[in-house]
Symmetry: C2
Subunit: 164 residues, 2 copies
DNA sequence: GGAAATCTACTCGGATACCGCGTGTCCGAGTTATGGTGG
DNA sequence: CCACCATAACTCGGACACGCGGTATCCGAGTAGATTTCC
């Protein structure tokens, strides 16, 4: 199991279809987004409730309802999507082993537990660099690199599928 | 569960006690290292078999045997320890969802699957930055910052505990 | 014909099952030093 | 005194149980638009 989960992957792929004018439709339902990509429908619906709680998408209920981006795609970073879906789970959680040394007899001195653990500090720095990369890309960035590869009629084909 | 596991934490803490001359002893057994820090003995033994396979430590069998570093601590990076213990597990594993789009009817065109997925590319860059940090620290670096905090007689106390 | 009731399709939220993997434990096999025994 | 054997402590490797969390599914409740019914 990877640290960045399949749920994030599903969520990101679905969000890309919400970038842009959607060819007449202003929102797409979770079912359509899921079936369009061959991923579990109910699971995607669950992901979108998290995205809504995080304020990244807006939901419209009832028939013809669905989701649309709450903000312009340029202002939504990949990091926000990751944290919305899987929460702020740390890359490494320190067990504070340094204070368990047997010579302390269960009473670690203050010098042993002061500040952050040296190992933990390295991991925190690694995590910060990782998140920095994720925060440097927006939904619009990735959507652009996707539509650059696709032929011009692809978005029309997708819109036709969504309406049909 | 974090991406960098508890096993790595145990392994690193144990390895730090193998940095330096060990005050007369030239190796320490897995049992001593584990009990010194109050962590599961058998589990640490398992970790050290992985460290040995990776060529980071040398084992001497029989009574009074144990482990010692296979190379100078300055040349062993944190990244090597992480990969030795938990293997090269990716930060993110791409499911190639881009090729599943329903409008392809199960036959994705070549433009859709050429090169690396745009999402995957971002994740790979994030992973590379993370690993870059882990590779920039050696066992000696962290061991130094630990012994800087400890008083002078701490290493003697540890040596006494290991021998007694 | 218009208003109200019904129906349908959707979102929302919780409950639950499944399963892979990290964690931890146990056991047997092989190895080496130590201590004891017999020639 | 020396060679041989038994014992103890260790490493090695595999097998296995447990629990957590990600993945996936199902179901009931609530809502909004479409359809039908009734006056």
């Amino acid at each position: 199991m990877a640290h960045i989960t399949t749920g994030v992957e599903y969520g990101l792929h679905c969000l890309f279809y919400l970038v842009g004018p959607l060819e007449g439709k202003q929102s797409a339902s979770a079912r359509d987004l899921a079936e369009l990509q061959g991923v579990p429908v109910e699971y995607v619906a669950k992901l979108f409730t998290k995205l809504k709680k995080a304020g990244l998408v807006l939901a419209s209920e009832g028939v013809g309802g669905g989701f649309r981006l709450a903000r312009p795609a340029e202002s939504i970073t990949v990091l926000e999507v990751v944290e919305a879906i899987e929460g702020k789970k740390p890359l490494f959680d320190c067990q504070e082993i340094r204070g368990r040394c047997a010579v302390f007899n269960g009473r670690p001195p203050t010098w042993a537990t002061r500040g952050t653990c040296s190992i933990h500090a390295v991991m925190l720095e690694a995590e910060a660099q990782m998140r920095k990369v994720l925060a440097s890309y927006s939904l619009a960035d990735i959507a652009n690199s996707l539509t650059c590869k696709a032929p011009a009629n692809y978005s029309r084909e997708v819109a036709k599928w969504l309406n049909g």
